[in-house]
Structure formats: C-alpha cells, structure tokens
Symmetry: C2
Subunit: 216 residues, 2 copies
C-alpha cells in the first residue's frame, strides 16, 4: 500500500488529510477503522469501537483525525488511489484491448480480495452516498473522491471503446457494459471473504466470463 497522499492535501485549512510524520499513526487508525466499518457498518461503528480495535481509547483517534467523517474520507481517498495505481497501468499498456481489459478485471478483483476491508467500505459507500458533513475542506475531499470514481469508470469505458474500434469487441454501449463489468467486480466484496476457491482462479474466471460470456 505504498501510495502517496501528498497531492490530496485539499485541506490546507486544517482539514482532513494532512501529511507528515503522523503518517504511520494515521495508517494504523485508518486500517482499524476500515475493519470496524466493514464489520459493523459505518454508522454502527462508534469512535470507541475504532479505539478498541486499536487497543487504545478515543483520544488516540482524535489525535490523528478531527472527526469520524475525516477518517472515512481518508479511507476513500487512499482506497481509490490504490485502485487507480493498480489498474490504470493495465489500461494504458500497449496491446490488444481484449487482453488489457482482462488484465484490468483480474487486477481489480485481486485487489478487492487483498484489501477487502478498505474496498468493502468504499464500495458500500457508493450506496450510502458520501457523508459530506458540510465543512468546505471536507467537501473538497468528497469532490476529489467523486472524480477518482469517475476516472476509474472511464478507464473501462475507453478500453471498451478501443476494442470496438479495433473490431475485437461487438458494437455495444460502452458505458453500459462498463457499468455491468464494474457491478460484477465490485459485488465480489460481498462474497470473496467466504469463498474457498483461490483468488487467482476466481479472478481469472471472472475475467473470462465478463469478456466471452456464457453462451457457448
């Protein structure tokens, strides 16, 4: 998880994602929170729960983050940057659209498995809406998250368009199909934790199905 968050400092006013020597402590809080959020839901998790997960008390959490929402937003930014760092190279590498897209699917599914807590939280938040608790610095971060989401979706749309142009793919509505793909992949966070098949097989079979379909 070696993603810099330096460029996200949309919070000069003392807001949400400060960087510096606090980084290590923040990361601990972040992953503890992600675990708790996934287990109990965001609203079902109290700051004390997060502290428990850390083997500490409230004070620790509030030392690194000014609010519960700040924690959640930082999870979002970290996770989305992680996702883009993992998938976007596969999208832009040279080669046929077909193999690029398959690679993107495998990477996404594999990352979902490897960072399940983090991505579970982020994906479920798509349904709950971003908790924009109002303050301008938080709003800026929320905007950034929405931008990253869009960027991720567009990655798939453009590779699909490439494939259509090159004649590899059928002439589909690329955004619709991208969303179908996204849905299948993101849905995996609901069941990856309880499947017994190795993740490489799951990722490969997902990619195969999503590209070549079911009909013989």
């Amino acid at each position: 998880m070696a993603v810099s968050r330096t460029d996200v400092a949309a919070d000069a006013e003392g807001g949400v994602a400060r960087v510096g020597p606090k980084e290590a402590g923040r990361r601990e809080v972040l992953t503890a929170a992600a675990r708790a959020f996934r287990a109990n839901g965001v609203e079902g998790t109290t700051i004390d729960d997060i502290a428990d997960e850390l083997g500490a008390t409230k004070g620790r959490v509030y030392h690194y983050y000014r609010s519960k929402n700040a924690v959640l937003l930082d999870i979002h930014v970290s996770a989305m940057e992680l996702v883009l760092a993992e998938v976007s190279p596969a999208a832009t590498t040279p080669g046929p659209a077909r193999s690029r897209l398959a690679d993107m699917v495998r990477r996404t599914v594999t990352l979902n498995d490897r960072e399940l807590d983090l991505l579970y939280v982020v994906i479920s938040a798509l349904f709950n809406g971003l908790p924009m608790s109002g303050r301008p610095p938080e709003r800026a971060v929320a905007d950034r998250v929405r931008e990253l989401r869009r960027e991720f979706e567009d990655l798939f749309v453009s590779v699909i368009d490439d494939g259509i142009r090159s004649g590899e793919f059928r002439n589909v509505d690329s955004r619709l199909v991208a969303r179908a793909l996204l849905g299948s992949m993101q849905w995996t966070v609901l069941w990856l934790g309880s499947t017994d098949r190795p993740i490489t097989e799951v990722a490969a079979e997902m990619a195969d199905y999503l590209l070549t379909g079911l009909v013989r």
Copy 2:
C-alpha cells in the same frame, strides 16, 4: 405490487409485520420510508423525515410500526417477495435455458427501475448488513429475508446449471457466474435513475451482454 404478506407474520408476539385493515396505511408509510431511505441513507433518515415525507408527524409512523427497524424489515420482505414473484416464473417456465435466463435478467432490471426506491434500499442493505436489532420477532423476519435472498440467487444458479447440462452454456462455475450476473443487475440501481435510455433498451442490452459477452 400485489403481493400478500400474510405468510410472513413471524411476529405473533406483536412484532414486525402484522396484517389486516391497517394494510393501506402501512403501505403509505412503507413507500415514504423507502423514498427517504434512498435519498438520505437509512441511518441518515430520522422518523421525523419519514413523517415529513408523509405530510404528517411521528405519531403516524409509530401507529403502524413499532420501530424504525420494523419499517426497514418490512421493506425488505415486501421487496424480496416482489422480486421473486416477478422473476421466478421466468425461471421455471419451459424452454431453453438461454431464453429463460435472458428473460430473468430483463425482468430483474426492469423491476429495479420500476420500484427503484424499494430496491435501492434493499440492495444497499446487502452491504450494511441487516439491522437485526435483537428482539426475537425481528430476528425471525431477518432470517426470512436471508432465505429469500438465497432463493433468488439459487434461481439463477439452477438455470445456469440447466444450460450447462443442455450444452447451451459453457462449463462455468455456476455460482460464480450467478454472482457476477447478480452484481451487474443489482448495480443498476446506482445509475438507472440518471440514464436517459428507455428501460426496455437497457434491460435488453444488459441481458444480451451478460449472456453473450463482449468479444466478437
């Protein structure tokens, strides 16, 4: 939405889903709550919000439901029965697996669009976990909901198995593919509200893609 809920009265102790002449009033509360839940998230919605949506006050809501959780659970049961009533006939009708499955996809997507508030709430709850607030009667209803979910997934698994046996489909992991299908379809609640294409086209193209894939 003509689904009886009589058989769900797992609440003889005065619980969650009583039936009788109250039915009409309950339905109003139910749909108002679904609208509010989708707009603000379940936890972000207060009982007063639901009352506002009804043009009434708290008292009205509590006259029909003993708790916020009871409302939510009733939404779940109603929605899942609605879904099964819509899709399960298409699964068991005679004919090739391929056309049955396509029909199931089209029906699911179309229903998602027609009852968007209701299904949005139910689908997003998959990520938040059912709010089992503990009391035995509520636990019973929650169990019933889980059963209906499983039933829905199994509908797809068994049609896919049929198709594999008949040679119409490739030899895939039917549960994995069912979950991929489910994910694509349920994901639509996130964007159906903002697409401009007619729902019949969307449903048809989803079915086409999910069966025959992307590769030419």
